[in-house]
């Protein structure tokens, strides 16, 4: 139980640090977005014939960014944190003229949907393929698959996405080339709408599958081969334990552990890849809005989506760590090592 509390606290501290960095980045942005915004509002109001009242300007900037530009930096910082933690207020997008939180909250499930499926598919394939390669070690199948896995490892996921889109999307017309679902369909929990969602998600998921695929199969192969040579397997065989039990309980479980750790790092990679994938597939998730925010210099939205990605990644890593304790009972025992 102490372990869970410690890990959760760790995640909270990480979140606060990232928020701090986000705030610092916001202040460092070229031309200081807060001041630029203030100048923009000023010129807008003067063009409208009104006089720019400094207090009104400050209020407008505060509404968009979540902090008052005339206050000292540390007060701004505390207010920014306060808004996010207490009111889930990430600021106000000026391109969409809506709260950042609402925009991102609506877009988030879509990003998580394609990323999580891609990650799950990638790692399942890795484990199965790696185990098969280790089982047939040295065979022609092993050699060819190793070369293939190495080659796939050197293909960036966006290159995969471009190839999928060009051939399956535009050339063969098998899959839709953009969007999240067929807009002419009635939204809701009906079969045709659900089918449309999965149909539109096939290509993005296939591309994020490449992100998860990585070198996983090769490291699974290496782990399995190493474990196959261990003494305890020989003992298990001598004790007459069935080979299915040996394969699942002895080999697979121990071989998956390092891969599981690797997956925690992979979670961050999968979520960050969604910017490019959603750009290529015009799939309006958080990544697509991030890119849009960069192009239109919508800084509140950009910083908000940056924080959003971090939070989702943190939750993913936290879940992975908690389940890691179930997969590996040794966790937490080796923490106390002597320091020099």
């Amino acid at each position: 139980m102490r372990y869970f509390v410690k890990r959760t606290l760790h995640a909270v501290v990480t979140l606060i640090s990232v928020t701090t960095i986000t705030f610092a980045l916001f202040r460092l942005m070229p031309g200081n977005p807060a001041q630029a915004m203030r100048a923009q509002f000023e010129s807008q109001m003067e063009a409208g014939g009104g006089t720019a009242d400094p207090e009104v300007l400050d209020a407008m900037v505060e509404q968009h960014t979540g902090f008052d530009p005339d206050q000292p930096v540390y007060v701004q910082y505390v207010e920014y944190l306060q808004d996010i933690i207490l009111y889930q207020d990430f600021g106000h997008s000026y391109v969409y003229n809506a709260p950042v939180f609402d925009i991102l909250f609506a877009a988030m499930p879509w990003s998580v949907f394609i990323s999580v499926y891609g990650l799950a598919l990638g790692y399942t394939t890795n484990i199965l393929l790696g185990a098969a390669m280790a089982y047939k070690e040295g065979s022609r199948f092993d050699t060819y698959t190793t070369v293939l896995a190495t080659f796939l490892n050197s293909v960036p996921y966006y290159v995969g996405a471009i190839l999928f889109l060009a051939f399956f999307g535009y050339e063969l017309g098998l899959f839709p080339t953009g969007g999240r679902y067929n807009t002419s369909l009635e939204t809701g929990l009906n079969v045709r709408f659900m089918a449309s969602i999965s149909y539109h998600a096939v290509l993005p998921i296939m591309s994020s599958f490449i992100v998860g695929f990585g070198g996983g199969a090769l490291s699974m192969r290496g782990n399995s081969i190493r474990i196959l040579g261990e003494d305890y397997l020989r003992v298990a065989r001598l004790r007459g334990i069935s080979s299915t039990r040996i394969a699942t309980r002895y080999v697979a479980r121990n071989a998956i552990l390092p891969l599981y750790t690797q997956m925690m790092i992979g979670i961050a990679a999968v979520f960050s890849s969604s910017v490019l994938l959603e750009f290529i597939f015009t799939y309006p998730g958080v990544g697509w809005y991030t890119f849009d925010a960069v192009m239109r210099r919508d800084y509140p939205l950009l910083m908000g989506s940056f924080l959003f990605f971090t939070i989702v990644t943190l939750i993913g890593i936290l879940i992975a760590e908690f389940t890691y304790g179930i997969v590996d009972p040794r966790i937490g025992s080796g923490d106390q090592s002597e320091s020099y």
Partner: protein, 371 residues
Amino acid sequence: MSHTNESRLEADGQLTDEQLFGHLSEAETVDLSRRERLERVVDAYVLAPGRVAWNDWRTRVGMLVITAFVFFGTIGPRLVTAPGTNQAPNNLQPFHGGIAALWEEGGWIDFGFSHELSLGAISIPGFVVRYPLGADNYGTPITRNLVHATPDMLEMVVAGAIVSVGLAAIFGITAGYKSGKTDELLMYVTDVVMTMPGLPLLIVLAAIWSPRRAWLVGVILAIDAWPGLARALRSQVLTLRQESYVEASRTMGLPSRTILSRDIAPQLMPYILINFANAGRQVVFGSVALYFLGVLPFTTANWGIMMQTAYSEAHALVNLSNFYQIFWPMAAVVVLSFGLILFAQGMDRVFNPRIRARHAKKVGSDEEQLN
């Protein structure tokens, strides 16, 4: 200098145990000449790894690919004319004229005695190669663009790999060795950077600094590449710090700095070197992605910018007759990273002590002694 064991060595070409380890009393009397010592060093550090490396097809292919890219990155721009618009017909297909171009006029290879192919100072009369990979919408030859993008890419890769591997080594080794509070603090920093999603972070950083120099782009991309490696290095050090020779140095009261640099770092060098190639690959992926998105400032020729132009101007995905424009830069990225991965895998074998011992000239192999 005449040593009694020397003749035996030449007779059977193998060292006896005594020559390998020596009697303690004799150790001071064994006096190698400088040349002999140099030979041994060269054999152990250059020839043996070289032989192992060359025996593995992966290292051979990897080295070939990397050498080719280094060649195009250093000498290439001197041989190939700088790219520019309207140097070739717009939307010129690659290998125009096809195989027929080998004997027909006006193809990508044109024969004829009036032609002359010049490569720098050397000129070859008889034929000329015209824009073999085609040209883009504005008539910029793709081959020239690709070649002139290589030097910047190499600069990015080297700068990015050095910075990310360096940061990872500093964080990982110190954290693993020091343990306790230092470890907690350093790993905390690592976790924070690892949690921040890479591409969005890079986009924000690129927006802040808008780096124009290639090496600066590499350094910024390194921020995303180091935490994973730092974690891996830390776990390696955690196993090493319990080794008896490290314990011995500690008991002798040597400062941590000496133990780290003399006892621990050499054990980690292979691992670090392999990850150098991997970090390089990550920098290639990242920089091409950022240029493709159009986040980094449009500077000189770059594979990512070529992809961006092909995507947005030539609509290479919709209009598949233009697909070649986006294909060539993508192929360059894939081939370069494939070479880096193969090289890293091959080097893994070089640093594996068992395999290396089998190829060392002056040391008897493990297997022979076992049999």
